[in-house]
Amino acid sequence: MDFGLTAEHEMVQKMVRDFARKEVSPGIKEADRKGEMEPHVLPRMGELGILGICIPEKYGGQGMDYIALGLACEELEAVDTTLRVVMSVHMGLCSMTLLQWGTEEQKQTFLTPLARGDRIGCGAFSEPGAGSDFAHIQATGRREGDEYVLNGEKMWISLATKADFAMVTVRTDAKAERPSAGLTSFIVELDRPGISRGDIHGKLGVRAGSTGWISFQDVRVPASHRVGEEGEGFKVTMSAFDNGRYTVAAGAAGLIRAALEASVAYAKERQAFGKPIAQHQLVQEKIARMARDYEIARLLYLRAGWMKNQGQRNTYQTSMAKHFATQASFEAASEAVQVHGAYGYSDEYDVERYMRNARGAMIYEGSNEIQTLIQADYALGYRKDKPLRCELPAYDPAVWQSS
């Protein structure tokens, strides 16, 4: 069992870290204050191949593995959560769902431009009235000949106003025996007639990002855009969350690390009662905990990434990773604010932004309460996974790196 990263993985880490530090870090505070995503972020992530990092080369991607995706997310979120949110929705919810459930034609048509960074993707699942209780979403899809007609409203969609495509799940069968069995997913171009979208402002955190709503009014979508079969929408969506959740877990580890590094630097500089506060035990306790939680979070997401590489179902492990890391990242950020004293309360330092950003991750991509229920179901043996009709493909360099 080798706990070390390969030379390849280390170079990936360095590359993404250098990009985020050099090109995003300098302007991030201003962007967060303004509540706007910096315009160069998406194009640069596209140009550098980050938006297609773990997609096979034949679909326009970079052919790296799922661990590389996790490492990239950790480095991105160490600078700002909004960078990682891009990966969560573009890659996790949209691209990887296509990789897992898409037809060959859908992969050529949609996945390829997404992986190249020519198009941006997002996941349109949550609604004003349904988040955790996904089975009871209200948006509908009605089959009419070769098309489906979509109606409804999706909310809390990251990159809603920036994306070109959305993975959308709606109810196509109101009479299904179980509500979850009546859902169907589609890949939808967001410039179709009947689609309107807007931004949501006033969020506590991830302000340098873009979160919004998408409204569908009699939006006609070819049947060829259906991802999976009718009635598989719940499974497709849960797969999407398994992938998005993984990026959230990896990113949160990066956030813990950022809080830790900021706290260590500050504690060594700031003096109180005759010595650097790093030498006071109550401060040391906070730092020790952050350091430990970083290690745990990191090991959990790397293990989940490894399982994805092996083609092993990892819903349980990804849930644990996301739950632990997001909870720990909020605590770490909050304690980092405490370590910084009054300065932590000011946006002159980064730690208050870390704390506001961290809070959101406990709510989205499956609230931490939902994660608890998922884990309990597994631990109690109430839940046994049956193989999905389409699983996330195991990583095979020969396949990923052949054009």
Binding site: T6, A7, M11, V12, M15, G49, Q62, G63, M64
Partner: protein
């Protein structure tokens, strides 16, 4: 164009360097591509993209000194070669320039050689010029811009950063250039480049392989390395009858202490 970039492996500049047992120690800070060399690699790659050809990175170092070469491959160099031999250990720039010049001649048909302006460890900034002299090629150091290059008519025009301003110089190819950071913005390694670099088998050339049979002996010796003495900061307050007097005294003190 057949381009060679001479790169060096150095400790990360953020490392805390200390002296332990008379030797420099950088703790567990990583060894990286010398930051100035990134600009050299970048410029070489840009020329290749504009004119076609090949970029080879070469580095003189111990057997395990491959980081700088891997980074160069990841950025996009076509090939990387490690020059390693017991007789290369402890060489000064005089000796190193002999090794590098021999390697460049062994590669053969080279149009342009790039160096970074200096390496962040020993910081001499003269190896490039010495390699040029040995090869009998023009040395153009501190290049901030390649204004023109014509591989067919074998001519290059550059702007060099002198203290007094930019000097414009023209010369024939082949030539040896050292570059400064004003010349470009180095690219990040691509993911494909990273994969290629991670898998690369880097050939090692010994002295014999590059045709160096004569004895190599350093002309320079480094008998001691030490940390600069800590200056006790007891503030020296400059006083006087008038602001003018104070200003004069302060200026004098600054000049005396060679602060300015």
């Amino acid at each position: 164009m057949n381009i060679v970039v001479c790169v060096k492996q150095t400790p990360d500049t953020a490392a805390t360097v200390t002296v332990e047992d008379g030797k420099v120690s950088w703790g567990d800070a990583p060894l990286v591509l010398n930051p100035w060399d990134e600009y050299a690699v970048e410029e070489a790659l840009r020329l290749k993209e504009a004119h076609g050809g090949k970029v080879t990175a070469i580095s003189m170092g111990p057997e395990d000194a491959r980081e700088a070469l891997k980074q160069s491959l990841a950025m996009g160099c076509d090939e990387a070669i490690l020059l390693s031999d017991a007789v290369f250990a402890g060489l000064d720039t005089l000796g190193a320039s002999k090794v590098l010049a021999a390697a460049i001649q062994h590669i053969g048909d080279v149009d342009l050689v790039f160096f970074g302006r200096s390496s962040v460890d020993s910081d001499t900034g003269i190896t490039g010029s010495q390699v040029a002299r040995r090869l009998g090629w023009p040395a153009l150091s501190l290049v901030a811009k390649i204004s023109a290059i014509d591989p067919d008519s074998r001519r290059i025009e550059v702007e060099r950063m002198l203290e007094e301003g930019r000097q414009r110089v023209a010369g024939p190819l082949p030539a040896v250039l050292s570059v400064v950071k004003e010349i470009n913005e180095p690219r990040y390694p691509s993911f494909m480049g990273i994969r290629k670099a991670a898998r690369a088998e880097i050939p090692v050339w010994s002295a014999a392989e590059i045709g160096l049979t004569e004895e190599l002996k350093a002309a320079v010796e480094w008998p001691e390395i030490f940390a600069p003495p800590k200056v006790e900061t007891e503030c020296e307050f400059i006083e006087g009858e008038s602001a003018d007097e104070i200003a004069q005294k302060l200026a004098d003190r600054l000049m005396e202490e060679k602060v300015i």
